[in-house]
């Protein structure tokens, strides 16, 4: 499978090196050929690679590739080869993060179950504010400016753990709640929601001594728990809402425990969170028996943290 494309590349190398009209013509023909191969088999790794190899020579329009792959993803919106190809072309073009983010918003609003698009958002958000030329907000407080600066340096270093701004997280919580209120048993939004919760926790972990961050996190967790409880009132049978509730209770137990008695929460509240989290995981063992082993593990983690 690879060998046939290897022979074509061997023949094309001198033509591309020569450049000019002939090279452009040859590249266009090659794109037509890979398109025919991909129409027969959209999962052909070797055909996708060949197309990337041709495109990398910059002899043809990159914007046309974006249009093509959007058509493909309209027909098959989870095709991971298509998404990978889009990222490849976007990188070559130096596409603004904002434009990519808008594309994922369109795909998600068209179909909340598009996990591939949620995934891509998780890659884009940490980059969002590290782009050159993004103007600082007029009311930029010193702490927000410091936060942005910290993010820029960590994403330049290629860290995957760059903090996502609080205000961005608020927008994401809103978007993902639309997804799980519309399709409560679709995994896509819920897995993304768990990542968002981790992003909120990361702010506190980055500043464990900060009472402001701790209080902010407690507030976010409280809001999300209220939202999930509303959903459970509407859809009492939603297993995913219950999983998220159990996870939220476990996080609240950690945050509450860190507050100690000083923030007006006695140890009684903390113990109650712990019992609630353990009970929520235990319920799931019966409701979702395939994953009982995981729930037992989560329950024992909750119990251990409370000691």
């Amino acid at each position: 499978m690879y060998t046939a494309w290897n022979h074509r590349r061997e023949a094309l190398v001198p033509v591309f090196k020569e450049g000019g009209q002939q090279a452009m013509q040859a590249a266009a023909e090659e794109l037509a050929l890979t398109l025919r191969a991909l129409t027969r088999n959209l999962k052909s790794y070797s055909a996708w690679h060949h197309r990337k190899w041709v495109i990398g020579h910059r002899l043809t329009s990159l914007e046309a590739e974006i249009t093509l792959v959007e058509t493909l993803l309209d027909a098959d919106d989870r095709n991971f080869h298509g998404w990978a190809y889009r990222r490849f072309v976007a990188d070559l073009m130096g596409m603004p993060v904002q434009r990519e983010l808008e594309y994922t918003t369109r795909k998600i609003q068209h179909n909340f179950s598009n996990y591939s698009a949620w995934h891509y958002r998780s890659k884009l958000l940490p980059l969002l504010h590290s782009e050159p030329g993004v103007p600082a907000a007029a009311d930029d407080s010193p702490s927000a400016a410091a936060e942005r600066q910290a993010m820029i340096s960590s994403s330049r270093a290629g860290a995957t753990g760059a903090l996502v701004l609080h205000q961005t997280l608020e927008i994401e919580y809103e978007l993902v709640s639309q997804a799980f209120f519309t399709e409560p048993e679709d995994q896509s939004g819920w897995i993304y929601h768990r990542w968002l919760l981790g992003c909120s926790v990361a702010h506190w972990q980055a500043a464990p001594e900060s009472e402001a961050e701790r209080a902010r996190l407690a507030d976010v967790l409280g809001c999300q728990l209220a939202l999930v409880s509303d959903l459970l009132d509407l859809e009492p049978g939603s297993v995913w809402a219950r999983k998220t509730r159990a996870h939220l209770l476990g996080l609240m137990q950690r945050v509450g425990g860190a507050a100690g008695g000083s923030a007006g929460r006695g140890s009684g509240g903390e113990a109650a969170d712990c019992v609630a989290a353990a009970a929520a995981w235990e319920d799931l063992e019966g409701l979702d028996p395939y994953r009982a082993g995981y729930y037992r593990h989560a329950c024992s983690v909750s119990a251990r943290a409370s000691v």
Partner: protein, 288 residues
């Protein structure tokens, strides 16, 4: 080449290796080696890392690794590593975490892991880690059970599982691959398929979290994909059988401890007896 590896390993799991002629098999494998040291998928094709690993796995299975010039093959494999730690599949530069697994595993079999820059290889795999704890084919690529298997196993060979993998998060994501059918899918909201019985399950086993899915339900799903007349296993019930799904179905059943099957190693995808004979080392996690 990979088809031969699947078939030969399946027969070993079934305890019937004598059904293939060893001498003939080994001679054919060696006829696919190219002057570069790499192996091709068949005689007339070009060398590629995918087939180089399959060839070495077959030679390992038949205790014939001494037939290759280890330094030469190791130089071919290590020569495909890029500055960012990734590995290309061949000289044409396709990058994929599958090739990281092929490379590190091949070098481990050849006792030449030191020929590659292992810390850089680990760094590259870390870059392919995602928000859900899984791994993609390249940095930015969506998590997929097949890539999860190759990345977890590659990190296990590199001894860096504990540094890179969030085992609770990834274990949870894999446990959510089990659908109401009992079978496993490869990504959220996709159809179950027997091949994920190997890819998702082996990673769970390496992470010490095999108990996070329902073994009887998965066993029943795999057995339900067996063609009771032809004997093979298909991707889903009532589909046509093939050697690929037959191997992955048997390998999954073996990991689940199904009676009558020889145990398989979740990292090296060879019988445990072969891995023990070769004294291959890999890191495994346990669930605290």
């Amino acid at each position: 080449m990979s088809g031969v590896y699947w078939g030969a390993t399946a027969l070993h799991i079934l305890g019937q290796p004598e059904r293939l002629d060893k001498a003939q098999l080994i001679a054919w494998v060696m006829s696919c080696q190219k002057p570069s040291g790499g192996f091709a998928g068949s005689e007339k094709h070009d060398a590629h890392l995918l087939y180089t690993l399959s060839a070495l796995q077959i030679l390992a299975l038949y205790d014939s690794l001494d037939l290759v010039d280890a330094s030469q093959v190791a130089a071919y494999v290590a020569g495909l590593q890029r500055g960012d730690g990734s590995f290309a599949g061949d000289e044409w530069g396709e990058i994929d975490t599958r090739f990281s697994y092929c490379a590190l595993y091949s070098l481990a079999l050849l006792r030449r892991l030191d020929a590659a820059n292992v810390p850089a290889a680990v760094d590259f795999l870390r870059q392919c880690r995602n928000f859900d704890g899984g791994f993609g084919a390249q940095p930015g690529g969506e998590s997929h059970a097949g890539q999860v298997f190759t990345c977890v196993a590659a990190l296990s060979i590199a001894g860096a599982l504990d540094e890179v993998v969030d085992a609770d998060l990834l274990g949870w994501w894999i446990s959510e691959r089990q659908t109401p059918s009992g079978g496993l899918n490869g990504r959220p909201e996709k159809l179950q398929d027997v091949c994920y019985s190997w890819w998702a399950l082996s990673a769970l086993s390496t992470l010490g979290r095999l108990a996070w899915i329902d073994a009887p339900a998965l066993t029943a799903f795999i057995l339900g994909c067996q063609d009771l007349e032809l004997g093979g296993i298909s991707d889903r019930p009532d589909d046509a059988v093939d050697v690929f799904h037959t191997f992955f179905g048997l390998a999954g059943l073996s990991l689940l401890g199904h009676p009558g099957l020889a145990p398989i190693d979740p990292v090296f995808a060879l019988p445990v007896t072969t891995v023990t004979r070769l004294n291959l080392a890999a890191q495994r996690l346990s669930c605290a």
